[in-house]
């Protein structure tokens, strides 16, 4: 008994120390300042999936601004630049970014620059200019900026990075809500939905809610087999095609 309680004490102290070090003590103590949740924690991509909307709602303990940051799973991505060679536009230089969120959108209750300063935006990676993408190559700043801008532009064109900030609507002083739209081509994986309460230019409370985007049903099974048992998938595709072709050929004869 003694040893058990002792161990717990040590664990507790260690956890407390970790919290203090990480500076997240504030978040736990003030957790009640902001409570937020999603209307659904799972986006199911079925065969008929055409995009969906998730409602984020929550409450604060008084006046203040709210920012919502939705970040998709971070994956590596390569940006390639085309140059004219012998009259043709051919990929030449490329830059690989290691930590590219596959999806990113922000919603705020007021324009961001009015509620919070640049250092805070950078610390919490709020807004596209503040996104840390983890470029692997060390390039000249101008070059890197061009590739970075191209990455964001391409993501925006695909509808995966928000073009403009969404709106967090307050109902009265404390209740807020916002709609987060996920397009049909939304990448699968574990998403992070972060709700931040901002007062006097400082983030005073934050809450992170997970959101899973996953293929469900027939399309999920197809994808799973294709990824994990590619040979089985290939054989099945060929057998299926031969059977379908045979059936079609037989039908032809009767017509």
């Amino acid at each position: 008994m003694v040893s058990l309680s002792k161990r717990r004490l040590v664990q507790g102290a260690a956890a407390l120390g970790g919290l203090l070090l990480g500076g997240t003590l504030a978040a736990t103590v003030w957790a009640q300042q902001l409570v937020a949740d999603l209307s659904s924690h799972l986006i199911a991509i079925t065969t008929g999936f055409t995009g969906t909307e998730v409602v984020l709602f929550g409450t604060t303990d008084g006046a203040g601004d709210v920012a919502i940051v939705v970040t998709g799973p971070r994956v590596p991505a390569t940006v390639r630049r085309k140059e004219r060679i012998a009259g043709m536009w051919i990929n030449t230089d490329s830059v690989r970014f290691e930590q590219v969120p596959s999806f990113y959108t922000v919603a705020t209750s007021r324009p961001l620059d009015q509620i919070v300063g640049r250092p805070v935006l950078e610390r919490h990676q709020i807004g596209l200019p503040q996104l840390q993408l983890g470029p692997r190559e060390t390039l000249e700043p101008d070059e890197l900026a061009a590739f970075r801008a191209a990455l964001i532009r391409n993501k925006q064109r695909a509808g995966l990075y928000a073009l403009t900030f969404g709106q967090v609507a307050f109902l009265g002083d404390r209740l807020f809500r916002t709609n987060i739209y996920f397009p049909a081509n939304v990448p699968t994986g574990l998403y992070n939905v972060e709700a931040l309460l901002i007062r006097n230019g400082e983030v005073v409370s934050a809450q992170t809610t997970p959101l899973v985007v996953s293929k469900i049903g027939f399309s999920a099974e197809l994808y799973d087999i294709a990824r994990h048992r590619p040979v089985v998938y290939g054989v099945a595709a060929v057998v299926g095609a031969v059977a379908a072709g045979w059936a079609a050929g037989a039908a032809f004869r009767r017509v």
Partner: protein, 305 residues
Amino acid sequence: MQVYLPIAEMSVNALLVLGMGWLVGFLSGMFGVGGGFLMTPLLIFIGVPPAVAVGTQANQLVAASVSGVLAHWRRGNVDVKLGVVMLAGGVVGTALGVWIFAILQRLGQIDIAITLSYVFFLGTIGGMMLVESSRALIRRRAPTARRGKLHRHIWLHGLPFKMRFQRSKLYISALLPAGIGLVGGMLVAIMGIGGGFLLVPAMIYLLNMPAGLVAGTSLFQIIFTTAAATLLQAATNQTVDAMLALLLLIGGVTGAQSGTKMGSRLRGEQARLLLSCIVVAVALKLAWDLFARPEDLFTLTSGMT
């Protein structure tokens, strides 16, 4: 009606894809070609990643060539022995093609490689067909036909490993059909087409095969090269979308039925002239894309490539 494609990871309008399958099936029924050369650019045009378009197209062509070969088989228009020799080259060519495909994909040059090979092959074959068919049309009006030699001997016929093909009444080097098969197999893997538009003229002009056997034999061979390509693309590049292939197949089969009926009303040269115009038009469009300045000079590829 939207359908989510699990491998391409995008949502498409099912009716649009069915319609595209129907149109290409119609043309292939009318002209007796596979139609892959039209389908792959169309798929890329609606936003399917080129790699997925090529892999899926190979899968769809398996079904299309099986149903096509059945009709020829019943009429005995398939030279199995010659087909098998072509196939030996074809499988090697397919494996080679899939390997090259994977390398180009890693280098980020697969799109340009696909487009360039399209422009080259479609431009060359389409241009030759255009000249030939318009000449044939003119000749029909002014019949001063000179008969050429029945069988011209060129260096290709002096190659070793001679084999007798009874069905086609040929005694030629086995390297010749195997070589044609090899090129055909590479085309399947890199361009996602059966390669009929290249195989058929090669078999007629290089092998001097009887015309009646050419279509059936090339289709017979294409079944196996496209099957091998599907298998290899699925296993190495994971770019075969079964859902997309199914949609294309349904559209293609129904389209081919109407196309075949329509084709029987067209005369040979007219059909070839029409087909060559379409082929040249596709080649010109692709060439334009190659040389015109793209809207965005930067492209983005996600994942481990």
